[in-house]
């Protein structure tokens, strides 16, 4: 059964995606030819309501190519994504920690895969440190 909470989140989601797509549209007439394709992809992904993972990945790719020339629109997109994707993730089961979105948007990862690799590396380093520490304690 769809709860009131769920419906409210979905209607919020549609609203913010249209708002974000409008920001992308404002950049398009001023974009370089090398930036147009990724911006068109981003706009259609926003309007097609693709999953947050695909959307975030495309956003990061667009950001890497376009942000330097259009900082303010990307700043607004980041703010919208940070708030709204967290809400979207909150209604899906088995999603990773929502701080991940904030972290990614602040730290300029070029793709979702590169962010996940970095997380794995950190996790590995932490495990290694834990192992060394526990060995030291035992000896």
């Amino acid at each position: 059964m769809q709860t009131h909470f769920f419906r409210e989140r979905v209607s919020h989601s549609t609203g913010w995606r249209i708002q974000a797509a409008a920001i992308v549209e404002e950049i398009l007439p001023h974009a370089k030819s090398t930036q147009v394709d990724i911006l068109l992809d981003l706009r259609s992904m926003l309007l097609d309501e693709v999953t947050w993972e695909n959307l975030l990945d495309t956003f990061l790719q667009a950001r890497a190519v376009v942000e330097d020339d259009h900082y303010m629109p990307f700043f607004r997109l980041r703010q919208l994504l940070e708030y709204s994707l967290r809400l979207e993730m909150a209604i899906q089961p088995d999603t990773p920690h929502s701080d991940m979105i904030r972290d990614m948007l602040r730290r300029k990862f070029p793709t979702l895969a590169s962010y996940r690799r970095e997380l794995k590396r950190l996790e590995f380093e932490l495990n290694v440190t834990d192992d060394i520490l526990s060995q030291k304690i035992q000896t």
């Binding site: 303010m72 700043f75 602040r106």
Partner: protein, 155 residues
């Protein structure tokens, strides 16, 4: 001279309270940016932000005293003013210098949008003195927006 309706004066009073809250919030945010900005452009940004929050400090006083001249009490206190303003707070963390500029630019644009509504409300109420103050404030914020936008291009 036509008599003002309560509705018209209320719009001016509420608009002035919002302008006071937005200016106060922006002053506080600009002060935070002055403290926490980092990077190769530190000195120029640190100084530019100082000039901006000093100007806002004087503006806040002028707006509050206009409310008193209209025989209204001026709202004050961090919590009260924060509730009246939609301007977001800067996160307290190491941010790229560009994000401080972008955050403040966004705040100035939000303030201008509400101040323009107040300018119209003053017009409808025939309160030219308050309108004069509001137009002056809009001009200052438009100039700051231009400076911040130009800064963003070269950071």
């Amino acid at each position: 001279m036509p008599t003002l309706t309560t509705k018209q004066t209320n719009a001016v009073i509420n608009g002035l309270k919002n302008l006071l809250a937005d200016s106060y919030s922006l002053m506080a945010q600009t002060h935070v940016a002055h403290w926490n900005v980092e990077g190769p452009h530190f000195f120029s940004l640190h100084e530019a932000f100082q000039k901006q929050y000093e100007e806002l400090f004087e503006a806040v006083d002028e707006i509050a005293e206009r409310l008193r001249a209209l025989e209204e009490l001026a709202p004050g206190g961090l919590a009260v003013l924060a509730k009246l303003s939609p301007i977001a707070e800067l996160p307290i963390e190491h941010l790229p210098a560009k994000d401080f500029v972008a955050h403040l630019l966004d705040g100035h644009e939000k303030l201008i949008a509400r101040a323009e509504q107040l300018r119209e409300a003053c017009d409808e109420a025939g309160d030219l003195e308050t309108q004069d103050l509001v137009i002056g404030r809009i001009q200052v914020h438009q100039k700051t927006c231009w400076m911040l936008r130009s800064t963003l291009k070269n950071l």
